[in-house]
Structures are given as structure tokens and as C-alpha cells.
């Protein structure tokens, strides 16, 4: 069998395909000018801020639990509907919380990307 290269990314990788006259901001990014780097920095920074904010919530919420259990006996030993609170939290409550955080993140990340697309495609 002959070996061949197979393109797996979107074909729109080259600046050559750009519509004539359109996207001067895209050109700044392509040519890696100072301004182009500012655009990229802004995108990466806002996405990173969003990701880190989810991580902070995760560290506080999840990372805090073992410490709370260790330090606060009333929390550790309390019961809800006859189920010990640590069980309720770790076996049930965390999962919808994860799901909600993920859903919120996805919406925000897509919004950031839409803003970036609008910014680049505006003349």
C-alpha cells in the first residue's frame, strides 16, 4: 500500500482562500503583527479566565469538602432524610453540580468565540 498524507483539519487553513478585500484583522493575525498578537492574547486570555473560574469553583466546592468533613463535626455527622450528609453530597449532589458547571462553561466559551469571530470579520 502506498503511503500518503491525509488532511484531517478543516481545509480553511490557508490565507490564500480568503475573500479578496476582507478581513484586515485576520491579516494582522496571520502576519503576526503586534496588533495581531493583541487580538490572539485577548481571545486566549478570556477563554483562560473562563476556564480558571470553573476550576476555582471546583477547587472551592470539591476541594473544600474533605476539609469541612475533617474540621466541622456537625456537618460530618448530620443527616438529611436519614442519609448521612457526606453520602448525599458525594454520591448524589456532586453529579448535577458538575453537569451544571459544564453546561454553563460551554455556553460562555461559545459566546467568547462568537465575539472573536464577529471582531475578526468586521471590516
Amino acid at each position: 500500500m502506498t503511503e500518503r498524507r491525509i488532511a484531517v483539519t478543516s481545509p480553511r487553513t490557508g490565507a490564500a482562500r480568503r475573500r479578496p478585500g476582507g478581513g484586515s484583522k485576520a491579516r494582522e493575525i496571520d502576519e503576526q503583527t503586534r496588533l495581531g498578537e493583541v487580538y490572539m492574547d485577548a481571545l486566549i486570555r478570556s477563554q483562560l479566565k473562563l476556564s480558571l473560574s470553573v476550576c476555582v469553583v471546583l477547587v472551592t466546592f470539591v476541594g473544600g469538602l474533605p476539609l469541612v468533613f475533617a474540621l466541622a463535626d456537625p456537618v460530618r455527622e448530620s443527616e438529611v432524610f436519614g442519609v448521612p450528609l457526606p453520602w448525599l453530597l458525594l454520591a448524589v449532589v456532586v453529579y448535577p453540580v458538575f453537569g451544571a458547571l459544564g453546561w454553563w462553561y460551554r455556553r460562555q466559551a461559545e459566546r467568547t468565540e462568537r465575539d472573536f469571530v464577529d471582531m475578526v470579520e468586521r471590516r
Partner: protein, 490 residues
């Protein structure tokens, strides 16, 4: 009846594999299903591949043995996807890489880092495959009285035939089917078990040491180390990452991952209930001279319900367990074989086939040669620790920090690989499952990050870093120059 259940699952897997053979024709099909898989199918497939024997049988067993503190294991295995979603999913898909070594090469423009990443993928894959095959042997011996080697050999054979039959396309179909099979196989018996428990007068659990979190310093360290390893280790598992390339674009990768979070959350509600029922009805499995906690899920129907219904439910659970063995093992095999095929052999479909046999053969040989009594979830936990100590820093710094250099990445991978790898070997040899060596995540992960950052600060960046960042972070719809890097011939 148990034998029939195993046979049915095996047959269904093989049939799906052959169905896939007709669909997959080109190399690209073979590896990543031509990227034409819908988000729900993809999410189900990720879920199906991810929910291994460690989840299906292992969690309930560890919870039975260790109580509430072990609930952190499924929490971490799900939470890891949240971390993966926010830090890795879209940029990783946009990198255009097929495998982790591809990503390392694309981002760092270094063959040395690529080779180190390949080595680690193979090691992590084998470390994850080994307990699957060992547990398959134990389970098949338990339910059918077969010799202990038979289960592992059966799983290995089916995986090889399935993967050789159709590559990734068939695997995607099989995996998606297996998620729902596993959910049903664990969920339906639980309903019957809970009804029986209710009829029994809802007996409670008096053992407060088991019910309430342990508060000793050692236990707090272990819990935090476990949290770190599971939350950060998920993103570096080879069979998880290979799934991201089957999404059409970065946004779809994100959508798929968010869906996986939901599917896993749904599944992981179940095993802890088995653990609690096990504490009431089968606590003898955790004590005695040879504890066999992995058996608790399969034992419960017989003990609580019994009769024909108990047998039917046990058969359903056995089918689910075998689905778990087959799906995780296939997924791991495809990704390990992909890396061996590309980096050790010459690439192409024929190399992939030879690599497949090697990818399963080595862990099978180990499983037959070294019978280990470590619970399956403990062994899998070690694979997470190794992944968190190597690929997590590589991915997170590689995606979000322009400053990462090839030398920095290499130094970090070697440091994390040696430290966490050494801890793994020590744990497997001594079978000590607590303490700072058996739970290495808390010190190996920060250390690897530190080494990568410090070494990167003193070395120079790859020349095309800025272009690569454009590729990783900009949505595909915008027409930009993203460089001309392509995954190597496969």
C-alpha cells in the same frame, strides 16, 4: 445462564465489529471513524469506553471495604471530564492531532518529546489494560468455574478480532451500545435489589466508622491525592483522548464532553448504592484471609433475592461486567496500537494490525505471569496518577502557556514519568495501598508542573509557537493561517 450472558455480549461485540468492517475502507476511517460521528453517539461511546470494570465492579467493592471516603473515586472520574472540558477539549480537537504524541509534536515541534509521549501512552495503556484482563479472569472463574486465565484470554481474543475487524468505526458503534448496556445492566438489578431491601424492612448500617468520613491526617492526604490524580489524570488517558478526534470541530468536541459529564453522572449514581447494599448483605467479602471485594456486585442478587430472579439479575450483571471488560480494553487497544503502529512501525493499516496484537499481547502476558490480588479500581487509580503526573502538565501548559518549550516538556515528562512510574511499581510489588507512595499524585503532579515551567524559562520556544496558538484557540469558521502541520502518515 452466566455463561450465556458472557457469550451474548461477546457475540454482539463481534457482530458490531464485522458490521464496521464493511464501513471502514481508508486509513482515516480505520483510526478515527472519518470524524463523522454525532455528538450523542460520540458521548455515549466515550462513556461506554470509560466505564470500565473498575467502575462497574470495582467502585462498589472499594466502597464496601472502605466506606464513604472511597466515593471520591467515582466523583473524581466524573470531575476529571469537567477539567478536561474546560482546559483541553476544544483546543485539543483543533490541534488536528490523532494521538497525544501527535499533539506533543505539533505543539513543541520536537521528535524527542513525541517519542517520550509515545512511550508514556503505551505504559499508561498497558497499566490500565492489565487490571482489566486480570479482573476478567477472576470474574469468569467466579461465575462459570473456568480456570483463572480463561477470562483474560477471552477478552484479549475478542478485542483483537473486533479491532482488526473494523478499527475505530466499529469501535465507536460498539462503545456507544456498551454504555447503554452497562447502564441498564447495573440499573435494572438495582431496582429489584432496593425493592427486596425495602421488603426486608430497610435494614440500616450501624458502622459509623464506615458511614462517616475518616478524619485522620493520613486519610486527608490520601483523599486529596486521589482527588488530584483523578481530576487531572482523566485528560491524559490515551483511550479518552483518541475520541476527541472523531468530533468534526472544536465546538462539537466541547458539546460532546459536556454530554459525557451528564452520562457519567447518571451512571455513577449506581455503584455507590451497590456498595451500601453490600455493606448490609455481603460485608464478609471485605474481611477474612482473601477478601474479594470486586465480587460484591455479582454476589448481591443471589444473596438478597435468590431463586430464578436472582440468577437472571446476576446474569445481566455478568453481561454488563463483560461489556465493561471488552469496551475499555478495545478502546485502550486502539489507542495504544495507534501509537505503536505510528511510532514503532512504519504506519499504515498493516502496521496497525501488528501493533494491535502487541498492544493486547503484552498486558495479557503480564496478567497471566503476575497474578495480582490488588482490586481493579486500585490498579486503575495508579494509571490515573501516572497520567496526571505526565500528560496533564503537558496539555495544560502546552495549550495555555506560550512559554512551554520542548526541553521543558521533556524534562517534565521524564520527571513525572520516573516518579509516578516508580511509585506505581512500588505499589504493585508491595501491595501497600495507602501512604504517600501509593497515592503519589499530591507531590508528583505539582513537581512535574514546576520542572516544566522552570526548564522552559531557561530554554527557547519552538519557532512556530504563535501560529500553533492560533490553530489551538481560534474557531474553525474564521479563515486564518493555522500553519501546515499535519499528523504524520498513518
Amino acid at each position: 445462564m452466566n455463561l450465556a450472558a458472557v457469550a451474548a455480549v461477546t457475540l454482539a461485540t463481534l457482530l458490531a465489529g464485522f458490521y464496521g468492517l464493511r464501513l471502514s475502507r481508508t486509513t482515516s476511517d480505520f483510526y478515527v471513524a472519518s470524524r463523522g460521528v454525532s455528538p450523542l453517539a460520540n458521548a455515549s461511546a466515550i462513556g461506554g469506553e470509560y466505564v470500565s470494570a473498575a467502575s462497574f465492579l470495582g467502585i462498589a467493592g472499594l466502597v464496601l471495604a472502605g466506606g464513604v471516603d472511597l466515593l471520591w473515586l467515582p466523583v473524581g472520574w466524573t470531575g476529571g471530564y469537567l477539567v478536561l472540558l474546560v482546559l483541553v477539549s476544544a483546543p485539543l480537537r483543533r490541534s488536528g492531532a490523532y494521538t497525544l504524541p501527535d499533539f506533543a509534536e505539533a505543539r513543541l515541534e520536537s521528535m524527542a518529546v513525541r517519542r517520550m509521549a509515545s512511550l508514556l501512552v503505551v505504559l499508561i495503556g498497558w497499566l490500565y489494560l492489565l487490571p482489566q484482563l486480570q479482573a476478567a479472569g477472576r470474574v469468569l472463574a467466579m461465575v462459570t468455574g473456568s480456570p483463572p486465565w480463561a477470562g483474560g484470554v477471552l477478552v484479549a481474543a475478542v478485542v483483537i478480532i473486533g479491532v482488526l475487524g473494523g478499527g475505530m468505526r466499529s469501535i465507536t458503534l460498539v462503545q456507544a451500545f456498551q454504555y447503554w448496556l452497562k447502564l441498564t445492566a447495573l440499573g435494572v438489578p438495582l431496582v429489584f435489589l432496593l425493592m427486596a431491601w425495602k421488603r426486608d424492612g430497610s435494614p440500616g448500617i450501624a458502622d459509623t466508622g464506615w458511614l462517616l468520613p475518616d478524619t485522620g491526617d493520613d486519610s486527608l492526604y490520601s483523599t486529596y491525592s486521589l482527588i488530584l490524580a483523578t481530576f487531572l489524570g482523566t485528560m491524559g488517558l490515551p483511550h479518552v483522548l483518541v475520541r476527541f478526534y472523531t468530533n468534526p470541530d472544536g465546538a462539537a468536541a466541547r458539546r460532546t464532553t459536556a454530554m459525557v459529564l451528564g452520562l457519567l453522572g447518571l451512571f455513577y449514581l449506581l455503584p455507590s448504592a451497590y456498595g451500601a447494599l453490600g455493606k448490609i448483605y455481603a460485608s464478609d467479602l471485605a474481611t477474612g484471609t482473601s477478601p474479594n471485594t470486586d465480587a460484591v456486585v455479582l454476589e448481591l442478587p443471589g444473596r438478597i433475592i435468590g431463586g430464578t430472579l436472582g440468577d437472571v439479575l446476576a446474569a445481566l450483571l455478568t453481561a454488563g461486567a463483560f461489556a465493561a471488560f471488552l469496551s475499555t480494553s478495545s478502546g485502550l487497544t486502539v489507542s495504544v496500537a495507534g501509537v505503536i503502529g505510528q511510532d514503532l512501525f512504519r504506519g499504515g493499516v498493516r502496521s496497525f494490525r501488528a501493533a494491535t496484537v502487541l498492544a493486547v499481547g503484552v498486558p495479557l502476558g503480564l496478567a497471566l505471569a503476575v497474578p495480582s490480588s490488588l482490586p481493579v479500581a486500585t490498579m486503575v487509580g495508579l494509571a490515573f496518577a501516572l497520567s496526571a503526573s505526565t500528560f496533564c502538565p503537558l496539555l495544560v501548559l502546552g495549550i495555555w502557556w506560550r512559554g512551554l518549550t520542548a526541553a521543558g516538556a521533556l524534562a517534565g515528562l521524564v520527571t513525572g514519568g520516573l516518579l509516578a512510574g516508580g511509585a506505581v511499581v512500588w505499589t504493585v510489588v508491595t501491595e501497600q495501598t495507602s501512604g504517600w507512595v501509593a497515592q503519589p499524585g499530591a507531590w508528583t503532579v505539582p513537581l512535574t508542573f514546576l520542572v516544566m515551567v522552570v526548564v522552559s524559562r531557561h530554554t527557547s520556544r519552538p519557532p512556530n509557537t504563535a501560529r500553533t496558538m492560533v490553530r489551538l484557540h481560534t474557531p474553525e469558521g474564521v479563515e486564518l493561517d493555522r500553519g501546515d502541520w499535519r499528523p504524520r502518515r498513518i
